[in-house]
Symmetry: C3
Subunit: 131 residues, 3 copies
């Protein structure tokens, strides 16, 4: 029985989106002839590889923080802030693919989402210690 | 007190197996003289590095999805599908080590396991929204 | 409402510390002119990159194991062993930055922390199966 249904849905969406970014790396390998186990070789491949890797790096911070924050701010708010994270990642991937120097706006949106979840989580911990 | 004991056991096994793949990378460093911080240099090292890294990429999708799915399909089924993931990773590592082109069957088994967990998780979310 | 407040606090600290290590990689990019999407180029950058990446590799094992172990050994003990993990990562980062060959002590402290959490988790699983 699923509780926190909105936050579960956002979690699944974040995981599926990260999976799709990984699939793009595999497709770029085939298209550009960057044979495994190489992890660089052509800029178009390298960009797809970094988009995926950077999203993994952010995902492993985001998912635990989301699930701490949900116990503090509830299902709807956690899911809303989590949705911003996914949008940030989409803007990051689109920007980075268009131009390496356009990767920052999406990155900043991602980081703001995780930062808000972190502040809310710390607020919950402070409350727990004070109560 | 541990509940969901089968799924906990599968989680521990997946984490320990991923740790072992990381240990192999360290041993290949010593054996082949690929000194840190290099992350490539010789094919035998590169293959071990990619097996570990790819397993990390899959693990961060698998573990959260497993623990969403377990609330929908219960301990035994989640653990059974999770066991397939671990077997897929073992076939992936063995295949990739033997021949770069033999990495796909294990990869597909891994992805099928995660895909089934994803579909079950989404089914649980749909039920939660309808109820 | 946060329960397990000490372990939540340690989790947040581990995530924030990993985030800081990622920020260092971005700053090294700017300082040393290692433009994205490159992931190597100068030793000072490569070392910061590996410190971050290795910490991600350890984090994805540590966080799930910490939250299995907390159900077996309780909040205070899990948090205490988790604090050792963070200290180990700090020693690892400082050692690796000073000298590539000084990365091992921090690595060993990290691994010992995760190993203790693993043994405690397995002990909990055995108890669950026997009870």
């Amino acid at each position: 029985m699923i509780t926190m249904k909105y936050t579960v849905l956002i979690t699944i969406a974040a995981l599926v989106y990260t999976f799709i970014l990984g699939g793009r790396v595999g497709m770029r390998r085939l298209k550009l002839g960057v044979d495994a186990p190489a992890i660089s070789g052509q800029t178009e491949f390298d960009v797809a590889f970094r988009i995926h890797m950077n999203t993994i790096e952010q995902l492993v911070l985001f998912i635990p923080m989301l699930w701490i924050a949900v116990t503090v701010i509830g299902d709807i708010w956690a899911a809303a802030i989590g949705a911003v994270w996914i949008v940030g990642r989409m803007i990051y991937a689109a920007g980075y693919t268009a131009d390496v120097n356009k990767r920052r706006p999406g990155m900043i949106i991602t980081l703001l989402s995780t930062a808000v979840l972190t502040v809310m989580s710390l607020w919950g911990v402070v409350q727990a210690f004070l109560s």
